[in-house]
Amino acid sequence: MWDYTDQTKEHFLNPHNVGFIDDFDGIGEVGSLACGDALKLTFKLDADERISDAKFQTFGCASAIASSSALTEMVKGLTLDEAAKITNEDIADYLGGLPKEKMHCSVMGRDALEKAIAHYRGEEEKKIEGEIVCECFGVTDIQIRRAVTENNLTTIDGVSDYVKAGGGCSKCHDKIQFIIDDELGNAPQTAKKPVALTNIQKIKMIDATLEREVKPSLKQDGGDIELVDVDGNRVMVKLRGSCASCSKSEITLKHYVESKLKELVSQELVVEEV
């Protein structure tokens, strides 16, 4: 069971402001049935341009409903400039925190509010900016970058928790990692393959690939690998730990290590155990 706070449970069981304002001043819709959650937010302004009423309709889990309820409470009485400053963290804080896997619910609230304000201000139909990175959930590189910087995310799982990207088929994980590395200031070493590699470049890339892609999964099985030498396209490695005595080490080398290096460094590489 999820560890929801009392505030979250309360806002789920007795949500505030469910509904739709027919003569709304602003409306924002985010999410879809396919994504598993969606929110339609409407608000009404008073004579002083403050939000006098806000209502929501939400399809989603308990935390999505609670986040929507919280959001509508938070914006009441605010000017649009004040409301625009609300972040997803503010929504989560209002509920006493959300489980990290559920942070995307608070992001959905923030996004709906942003859209509703933009709608009122006539900035409607903003084109989707950036390039779709995660096709499962339709998330762009710009959205991922924003989530990474605003929430100090450092892992793909973190990105999935906040904006869902990478939580489906996982084909986009390399691209998400690239964005994270880029935002963290680490020059990604394997993302762009130079046409011709110098020997030094090649060795560096092989080493980086082994470190990042190969070692972690070998270590799960109690094994390890060490780069001994690179001669032309021959990559010489030493297997350690449980890999050293494993009857399947030959297969691990050929099918796993070699295919990773071929994929990420160069198709010409051949791996040998020494």
Partner: protein, 386 residues
Amino acid sequence: MKAVYVDNNATTRVAPEVVEEMLPYFSDLYGNPSSMHAFGGSVGAKLTAAREQVATLLGATPEEILFTSCGTESDSTAIHAALQSNPDKRHIITSRVEHPAIKSLGEHLANQGYRVTFVPVDRQGRLDLDFLYKHLSDDTAIVSVMWANNETGTIFPVEEIAREVRSRGIVFHTDAVQAVGKIPINMADSAVDMLSLSGHKLHAPKGLGVLYVRKGTKFAPFLMGGHQEGGRRAGTENTSSIIGMGRAAQLAMDSMEDENTRVKAMRDKLETELLKRVPACMVNGDPENRLPNTTSIAFEYVEGEAILLLMDQHGICASSGSACTSGSLEPSHVLRAMGVPFTAAHGTIRYSLSIYNTEEEIDFIIDKMPPIIERLRQMSPFWKEG
């Protein structure tokens, strides 16, 4: 508040008879069956009896029964044994709707350089048998297909598949964790080589699994150490649980008819009434070939976790195929493999009954569900009345 428990595919109540059988083996008769003294030896005799009881349930011989720590261990042991004893074969066939115990293992082995074929299913959850047979090859070390699916209750034609696979000289394993105790299984008249079951799904305690290994099947142990289980599974026996499992096996045989008449009738009533009373919902899975205790119902336009939490307010315990309950972002791999639309998969609830459920409980659920779905739909931006 009294729990109305319809989540028996997740785990079951330990039968009071089973508990009673187990109790003396904690503080009084705590001997190690491997010991030379009579104190330990008496426990050994009880284990022999339990092994016979489990063998009887499966139509097997006692030597074909291995006790393990859980269904997952049984599954891992079976696959490991087949791969170890056929080191030159690098291909595995399984289905796309297996329990994670097989699914994750298959994915792991694929990363280790094995070729793993995942057989698809149709919209009703029925296996594509032609696809399976077409992919059998001399390189195939093992085929593993579950007997019945945990999420939908769909029963696969395991006997038929086993005969075809065996005729090609390939080992066949089945994860029968959901099937044993609910439908008749007879290994004496079967081509299945290995079969996994789990104690806590049939009113025995958690932490006890069984692997049936047909006599003559090539085997390699997964856990190594002592000589227990004939050298095929090391580790001191979980004596009290094994003894409980023996009693549970006996009870399962006695209650099989009740399961297929009274429990099935309650399941059918629950299903029929919910379909009648709640608009826009449907049953997932093969209505023909299905476990008698399971129904998986998709409520469109609402989300499963929210449904479960509102059910929980009434003490009703069930499961969901939705993404949000698991912490993943996509709905159940079983429903996706079946091509259940996302609109329905997110709002899928699995009810799984047991012999301990009563007619009153079913009526209670039938009474409470429609307002829960209605309440969430009123909140949903996708729900348009009528």
